[in-house]
């Protein structure tokens, strides 16, 4: 499937860099998590960050959407320097993400979770909501329509009104993806979207990720430590090891890269 996808002309051709990471370094109380990392992410591409556990992949993601603040280096989004922004600001800029261990709102239904993902598009204040004034109602319906589109897109109609807490792991991952794309982000950060999934679930997830990239033209940065999956869905791959960048390029280039082979493929998985 993926082969076919790349064979066809893309609806959204890959453009110039949208995220530029320059010499980013950061440490947790002395422990170096990232050292002098530099790479860029181009518009509409699927960019993978891979590396063994503890390579600093998640930290890198957390730096990009402002959960962590790097000690050194600069981070650019669409040309503008945004080093050390707050997560909220990142969200407003159009950076959306999922988490390694699912961070859904357990007590809420699938529908509400995804609706919550669109909060940036709802401006009615609590009084308007309480008295159901026109704007509140309008926003509620408009966003519900958008959300229903996503629900259909991810094929989760049947669990629309189920509290996410009751869903199996694989579905929860899917819902979280839904919540992330509900914000209609420019860039979507996926932290190990396929972690702990069986092969069918992984294939589904791959399909959805590609569909998102293909259907909405969303730029995607995803982390995986299982190489296999990543290689065939991503356009370019960054390889980290012990917080250092040891490889960067197309899947094939990376496969050929000796450092990567030593540091990564050597590691049994």
């Amino acid at each position: 499937m993926t082969v076919q996808l790349h064979a066809h002309a893309r609806a959204f051709p890959i453009g110039g860099p949208i995220i530029e990471v320059q010499d980013i370094s950061m440490a947790f109380g002395g422990v170096k998590a990232l050292t002098k990392i530099s790479f860029d992410v181009r518009k509409h591409e699927v960019r993978a960050i891979i590396g063994p556990n503890g390579a600093g992949k998640s930290s890198m993601l957390n730096v990009i959407n402002g959960v962590y603040r790097p000690q050194e280096g600069t981070l650019r989004f669409a040309g503008e320097v945004i080093t050390g922004i707050t997560p909220r600001r990142a969200a407003h800029l159009g950076i959306s993400r999922t988490f390694q261990n699912i961070a859904l709102f357990k007590g809420m239904t699938v529908l509400d979770n995804i609706m919550a993902g669109r909060n940036l598009r709802m401006h009615a204040n609590f009084l308007e909501v309480a008295f159901r004034l026109p704007r509140a109602l309008r926003e509620e319906t408009e966003n519900r329509e958008a959300v229903e589109e996503i629900i259909e897109f991810l094929e989760i109609e049947h669990i629309r009104k189920t509290p996410v807490g009751r869903l199996p792991y694989g579905l929860q991952k899917r819902v979280e993806l839904g919540r992330a794309i509900a914000a209609e982000p420019k860039v979507l950060l996926l932290d190990e979207p396929m972690a702990g999934m069986n092969i069918e679930e992984k294939q589904d997830m791959c399909r959805f990720v590609l569909d998102v990239n293909d259907h909405y033209g969303t730029t995607i940065v995803l982390i995986e430590h299982d190489m296999g999956v990543v290689m065939d869905i991503s356009d370019r791959v960054v390889v980290l090891d012990y917080g250092k960048k040891i490889g960067d390029g197309t899947p094939d280039e990376v496969r050929a890269n000796q450092n990567v082979i030593d540091a990564y493929l050597g590691v049994a998985h």
């Binding site: 957390n62 959960v67 988490f99 961070a103």
Partner: protein, 300 residues
């Protein structure tokens, strides 16, 4: 000079009542460390312990008999709570656990009333609530003997506990549990038994605290609210640090007394009731993890 002496008196008095807070808080810390539960019922346990002790003595049991009986009783109570309230709620949100212990408070109070009645009781440990002559003569400080006694007992208790924890096998196991439940389990530490033990110990600690308080100001419901006072103490000291709560106890005790005496009059007095909390909040805003608590890093 007299002003300063008065100040000292207030200070020391405060510190000493602080010891009481610390003593109660100690029970909290033990349980919080071991099972991550904030045992709101600790105060009620203190009250219940003291009341039972007095009760047994009134029934004619001599001190040396009433003491072990009560100890046993408190240990049982602790075990019971662990088994029937907290084990079913294991892995629940801390707020849920707190609510459960609030419920527990009511139950214990109720039982205490039912068994021992409601009227205030005197508890006589044979130590007079009079200024220590020696201090009064030499330093001109008027400080109650019982306060001193309490401080000493508290000191001994803390010392023994810390010994137990650092030297004995159980103690090490307990520390392991406190650090990391999963790890502790994986190296074969019987979590449940540890919890039970801790609850029993905290029951005993409660008894000591209860007796001292009772001896000082009579055994009555007010004791239950000592628990609330212990809350700010814990926050300042950090939920998981024994030395922390000792220090914090002293700070709170001293601070509230001084505030009462020096600031109180200007605002109509009685500020003891809320001062510790406000103190705690202010403290929180500066140092959320408490005096000796580990810094909380929230990973994503």
């Amino acid at each position: 000079m007299a002003g300063f002496q008065f100040f000292l008196e207030v200070l020391v008095g405060g510190l000493l009542s602080g010891v009481m807070y610390a003593l109660v808080a100690l029970g909290f810390v033990l349980i919080y460390k071991a099972s991550g539960v904030f045992n709101f019922a600790q105060g009620a346990m203190v009250f219940f312990a003291a009341l039972s002790f007095v009760g047994f003595m009134e029934l004619g049991a001599p001190f040396w008999l009433a003491l072990p009986i009560t100890i046993g009783l408190m240990a049982l109570l602790g075990l019971g709570i662990e088994r029937f309230v907290l084990r079913p709620l294991v892995n629940q949100h801390e707020i849920t656990l707190l609510m459960a212990t609030i419920g527990l408070t009511f139950v214990i109070e109720g039982v205490a009333q039912l068994v021992w009645g409601v009227e205030v009781r005197r508890l006589d440990l044979g130590i007079k609530d009079q200024p220590l002559p020696w201090l009064a003569d030499n330093a001109g400080l008027f400080i109650s003997q019982i306060d001193i006694f309490a401080a000493v007992v508290a000191a001994i208790l803390v010392a023994t506990l810390s010994l137990v924890f650092s030297r004995t096998k159980v103690g090490r196991a307990l520390r392991a549990v406190a650090d990391d439940h999963a790890a502790a389990l994986s190296i074969g530490i019987p979590l449940k038994r540890i919890w039970a033990l801790v609850w029993a110990i905290s029951g005993v600690v409660a008894l000591v605290a209860g007796m001292l308080w009772g001896a000082r100001s009579g055994v009555q419901f007010a004791l239950v609210f000592v628990a609330l006072k212990a809350l700010p103490v814990l926050i300042i000291g950090g939920f998981t640090s024994v030395p922390g709560v000792i220090v914090a106890g002293l700070i709170v005790g001293a601070a509230e007394k001084l505030a009462e005496v020096y600031i109180g009059p200007s605002v109509g007095g009685g500020i003891e009731s809320w001062f510790p909390y406000v103190l705690a909040i202010l403290f929180l805003l500066v140092r959320p993890e408490g005096l000796f608590g580990e810094k909380i890093i929230r990973r994503v």
